[in-house]
Amino acid sequence: MLEFSILLPAILNGLTTGAIYALIALGLTLIYGVLHIINFAHGSLLMLALYGVFFLHSLFGVDPYLALPIAALALFAVGYGLQRFVIGHASHGKDENILLVTLGLSVIIENLALYLWRSDTRTIETPYSFEVIDFGVAFIAVPKAIAFIGALLVAALLWLLMTRTDLGRAIRALARERQGARLVGINVEHIFAMSFGIGCACLGIAACLLLPSFYVSPQVGHAFVLVAFTVVVLGGMGSFVGALLGGLIIGVTESLGGLFLGESLGQLGIFLIFIIVLLFRPNGLLGQRV
């Protein structure tokens, strides 16, 4: 029997990582819900955001948490521009073409980063990097606790945006019925780009929350791509609550898998979930249709 005192910290740690996964997956699922395509450049854009926050810190001494609005806005702009000027023009009536373009973009971004910054792993040091909070039964690093709360806050804000604002209503209308949305006067291209931008802004925020307790390298996107995809598949493509729930489940699974099987094989737990979901519930826990 495993001691409760080992299991509980692992679960808490898993939850904090899971919240970040959920935030990344929220961006992915928002883009999927509206555009009905998977953004294969999601991991690479996260990597780009991490580098942005890293350089803001190392060159200008900007604290990662203070960089949050800058990163969110910058990534929003990148996402908006990409959708409006590149991805949006690619479809030629076939969704497959959009997939290819996002794949191409990810290859470009990732390898350009490899060329510019080499494959070195970089980390930053902040005064609070090694601070911990004592929960009595477990210690949680301060950056991780902040990340957990921050990710949940962003998720709540996003939910408010989707349900309470005109922009949110337009996005949801577009996700349901493209033609109808255009007929009632919604600027479809603009809203598509807004959705893509907001999805990417989530990555900017995730990068700021991640960096104090994580690292950045050109391949860092890989570590998140499979996870974020699994979260989205598990939660159900296009489902908000599903992404949140899926992220937490995957975070805990990875943490427990690492505890029982070791670091590298812990990732296999995620893969196992991926296959099981595909086999038995391809629509995910909360997805409506594929």
């Binding site: 497959e96 373009v101 191409g104 490899l114 995809f229």
Partner: protein, 326 residues
């Protein structure tokens, strides 16, 4: 028949090339172009004719490569035997993946996602076990001679790959005229309509991915004998997957000669890129990415589409003229 004649002429022209060109550099260059043409043919079968865009064809390629390497190193099985088994392994992995995904009619994004994820998972697996050499990779012992599929002259690999490409060309030519091909293209155009006409989309797509996987697996076996080395990043990394799909996209999706044309065009461009920017890590892939985006944006039908588009607009114009006179 015109296509069959072109295939035969292509092979007859290519076959004596190693006898005419003495430069090892150019024979290796042509051999690699043929290798990517063959890999592209595998992708084209599923993506071009079947409309199922795989983002992880490295999954099949890498499995074939590891299969033959492991069989030779740990079990001392002849390379030709390994080649056959690698083909079977690629086909089985293809069928397995297809069964998982196609069962529920998952397509488009979903299919691309699953293939990409599986390739990534196999990369992690190959990285963590000893019998795959983990991160260090596997070195296949050097045993020159035809018996171990390690030809003493560069021309040997050229002819082997030319043969495989010829088989691929003949297969796609057969496909375009066969019932199976018609069913496959019907599924690509409209799955629901195809089903209404009595085509079983699951069965059709499963066959296509199994054959495509088998071809990519055999490509992996040849790759290992050519370079005598394989590691998780070469086998399952994104580079191979991207090249597999880029080649037919440049040439022309769902055409017999698209992959061959695309492979040669891609390698001319890559060569120019190397001359212009030097041999820096990652830069060739940046170039591939840019090519992919540009092709999809401006030439979605590939180089072959160039001819077809002009032809069809000319015909349209003629039709319109006739319409306005009437």
């Amino acid at each position: 028949m015109r296509n069959l004649a072109t295939i035969i002429i292509f092979c007859l022209v290519m076959a004596p090339v190693p006898l005419l060109i003495q430069s090892d550099f150019w024979i290796t260059w042509l051999t690699l172009a043929l290798f990517y043409a063959y890999l592209g043919q595998a992708w084209n079968l599923l993506g071009g004719y079947g409309g199922q865009f795989s983002f992880g064809h490295a999954l099949f390629f890498g499995t074939g490569a590891y299969c033959t390497a492991i069989l030779q190193i740990h079990f001392h099985i002849n390379a030709w035997g390994g080649f056959v088994l690698a083909t079977v392994a690629g086909g089985l992995i293809g069928a397995g993946t297809g069964w998982l995904v196609f069962r529920y009619g998952l397509r488009g994004s979903y299919f691309a996602l699953v293939t990409l994820a599986f390739a990534e998972v196999f990369r992690i697996l190959a990285n963590s076990f000893d019998f795959t050499g983990a991160g260090v990779g596997l070195l296949v012992p050097l045993q020159p001679g035809i018996a171990q599929m390690q030809f003493e002259s560069k021309a040997g690999f050229f002819w082997l790959l030319l043969m495989l490409v010829a088989v691929g060309l003949l297969f796609t030519w057969w496909l375009e005229n066969a019932r199976f091909g018609a069913r496959l293209m019907a599924v690509r155009e409209n799955e629901d309509a195809a089903r209404a006409l009595g085509v079983d989309p699951f069965d059709t797509k499963l066959r296509a991915i199994a054959i495509s996987g088998a071809m990519a697996g055999s490509a992996g076996a040849v790759y290992v004998q050519l370079f005598l080395y394989i590691d998780p990043n070469i086998a399952y990394g994104p580079a191979m997957s991207v090249e597999a799909l880029l080649v037919p996209i440049i040439g022309g999706l769902g055409t017999i000669f698209g992959p061959v044309l695309g492979a040669f065009a891609l390698h001319v461009i890559a060569e120019i890129g190397r001359l212009a920017f030097g041999e820096a890590p990652g830069l060739n892939l940046v170039l591939y990415g840019i090519l992919l985006v540009l092709m999809v944006l401006f030439l979605p039908n590939g180089l072959f589409g160039l001819g077809r588009v002009n032809f069809s607009t000319a015909r349209l114009r003629r039709l319109f003229k006739r319409g306005s006179h009437a």
